[in-house]
């Protein structure tokens, strides 16, 4: 039996902790176009952390004895290709770079259409793994739309996955839900989105980092894959910074007791607390 083809989707994001830090300092500004931040150049671009966890999920399937070939795939500008090298250094076998100039806040429906086309082109793919959501726009749109475009079953919020039985015709997936962990069985091929509960992804060795340089990604232009411009379903019209910060009233007092008493008084005065 040929090895199972696993595709892991990765996205390059503006470091959300960097964006948050600028916001907390009150220095986050929206640029003239209205759809990016002025501080963009000072905030690093990183691999979406949830997508690194999707790579980890694929590698754990291999560790569990699944005979597989793991392809890391990204959609984006030239700079995005660097994250494929990292995925290969972690243990993926190959990379595909879908070259697309579309910038930040890209329509996830377009991204999903591109990934679906690339997956069909690879052929015989048994599993697509994605991070649960981009840690930038927090939409979680790509894995769900991808499953619909491929007409494959979808399991979200995976905290772990194991092959079901001998042949890898199905997976047993543990999901993180608000009620606790749930275990499901999903038939393959399928799309599975991975949550942070899976734990810290492995760190590539320096030897693997060197080797990864010798495995250049296959580049596929977006227009060729889509045979045109592709769908437009959602448009980012405007970014803005909410006015929620800096209104904290610091309760004064010499001792914990004084502060506790002052807090209760203010909570009653503002009717945040009854009585």
């Amino acid at each position: 039996m040929p090895p199972m083809q696993i595709v892991v989707c990765l996205k390059q994001v503006l470091d959300p902790d960097g964006v948050n830090a600028y916001a907390l300092w009150g220095r986050l500004r929206v640029d003239e176009r209205g759809t990016g931040f002025v501080a963009d150049s000072a905030i690093p671009q990183i691999v979406n952390a949830y997508d690194e966890q999707a790579v980890e999920a694929a590698l754990r399937l291999r560790d569990a004895g699944v005979d597989c070939r793991i392809t890391a795939l990204t959609v984006g500008p030239d700079a995005a290709a660097a994250l494929l090298r990292r995925a290969i250094a972690m243990g993926a076998d190959a990379g595909i770079h879908v070259a697309d100039a579309a910038g930040p806040g890209t329509d996830g429906f377009r991204t999903a259409a591109l990934i679906a086309a690339a997956v069909r082109e690879i052929g015989d793919v048994g599993l697509v793994l994605c991070g649960r959501q981009g840690s930038d726009y927090d939409q979680g749109v790509v894995p769900a739309v991808l499953a619909e475009r491929l007409a494959w079953p979808f399991v979200s919020m995976a905290a772990g996955a194991q092959p079901e039985g001998g042949g890898a015709g199905a997976l047993r997936v543990v999901r993180a839900t608000p009620l606790g962990e749930e275990t499901v069985r999903v038939s393959l091929p399928a799309v599975v989105s991975v949550s942070n509960e899976i734990g810290t992804p492995r760190y590539p060795s320096s030897r693997r980092m060197m080797e990864a340089r010798r495995i250049p990604p296959v580049v596929r232009p977006a227009r060729e894959l889509l045979g045109g411009e592709g769908p437009r379903a959602v448009e980012l019209a405007q970014l803005f910074i909410p006015d929620v910060q800096g209104h904290c009233e610091v309760i004064q007092g010499e001792t914990p007791e004084e502060k506790a008493a002052a807090l209760l008084r203010r909570l009653r005065e503002t009717r945040a607390l009854g009585g």
């Binding site: 009620l179 038939s187 009233e249």
Partner: protein, 327 residues
């Protein structure tokens, strides 16, 4: 926008959970602004949810009987049937365990567009359409989204997207059953379900007292539980101390735990990582107690105490107890 506004309530809870109530409130506000009727679709869950939806502002209620723990496939099929039966072009999905998957899959299946994390749904400035304000970058920014395509607009709501409408027992809605074509085969089957919740829900508590690593040791979580009980509320926890087993997974507040929107949220020894704030930032009043004056939690708080929470919590407990024994 003469066509009705649709609100989708997947497993809405009985009585309706706070996420379902907010969705009805958001739906009613948009429908009122457009002079359109509000249709509510109850997808699975308890039988009495339909009547409560009517008492809380729905003009028409569609009920899809899906049994316990409906699959994602069943919910998408039911959502598509509700859009077809209602004639709506805008559908809002109540927040909860199903919101991400249902919102995006439904839009994809019907060749529409979707946005999740919506804090506001409003009429677009130009034309006969809606636009959505969504919380992005872990709450550091907001994005305004529009829908250039022709299909349905499916919008997943974030905490605080709507005000829970009051219950009016004299109000009734026309209730009808929704015919849902069952998916041909079960592609995803539950092997071991999550423990079913019983008793009061953290999501519905009016007061939540939460603890984090600033409690210093597991035994101090008892202070959080005690203050919560004295205030008639429930105890919550950061993911860090759930991982440390100081608190149970059912008490976790945040991105992968419960999303709460109480009247009062007291965060004791919690730094305010964005993953935690997603779960509590829509609280009406947020109090932070933390030794680090630079902790992000103070950016979200209305009231802050810069001090050791293990020293402040016992004082709060004592004062609340004294106050209640006097009255």
């Amino acid at each position: 926008m003469a066509e009705p506004v649709l609100v989708l309530l997947p497993e809405p809870g009985s009585p309706l959970a706070s996420g379902s109530l907010e969705a009805l409130g958001a739906g009613r506000a948009l429908a009122a602004a457009a002079g359109a009727p509000l249709v509510c679709a109850v997808l699975g869950g308890a039988a009495d949810a339909a009547a409560e939806a009517g008492e809380r502002g729905a003009d028409r209620v569609l009920v899809a009987r899906l049994g316990d723990r409906p699959s994602g496939d069943a919910l998408v099929a039911a959502g598509a049937a509700a859009l077809a039966a209602s004639g709506a072009r805008v559908a809002m999905v109540a927040r909860g365990a199903h919101v991400l998957e249902l919102t995006h899959r439904l839009a994809a299946r019907l060749d529409g567009g979707s946005v999740t994390g919506a804090v506001e749904v409003r009429a677009a400035a130009a034309g006969d359409d809606v636009e959505v304000v969504a919380s992005v970058f872990g709450g550091a920014a907001r994005a305004v989204y529009r829908f250039p395509a022709g299909g349905p607009r499916v919008i997943g709501l974030a905490p605080g997207a709507g005000e829970a409408p009051a219950r009016d027992a004299t109000r009734t809605a026309e209730v009808s059953q929704l015919a849902v074509e069952a998916p041909a085969d079960a592609r995803v089957t539950v092997v071991a379900p999550a423990a079913a919740a019983s008793g009061p829900r953290l999501e519905d508590a009016r007061v939540v007292v939460s603890g984090g690593r600033g409690l210093k040791e597991g035994a101090n979580y008892a202070l959080v539980r005690e203050l919560a009980e004295l205030l008639g509320g429930m105890a919550g926890a950061s993911r860090a101390i759930v991982d440390d087993k100081w608190a149970t997974p059912a008490e976790q507040v945040g991105l992968t735990g419960k999303i709460v929107s109480p009247d009062l949220y007291i965060a004791a020894g919690i730094s305010g990582a964005s993953q935690h704030m997603v779960g509590c930032s829509s609280a009406r009043t947020l109090v932070a107690i933390n030794t680090d004056a630079q902790a992000p939690i103070f950016q979200y708080a209305q009231f802050g105490i810069v001090d050791d929470c293990t020293a402040v919590l016992p004082e709060l407990i004592r004062l609340v107890r004294e106050g209640s024994s006097r009255s």
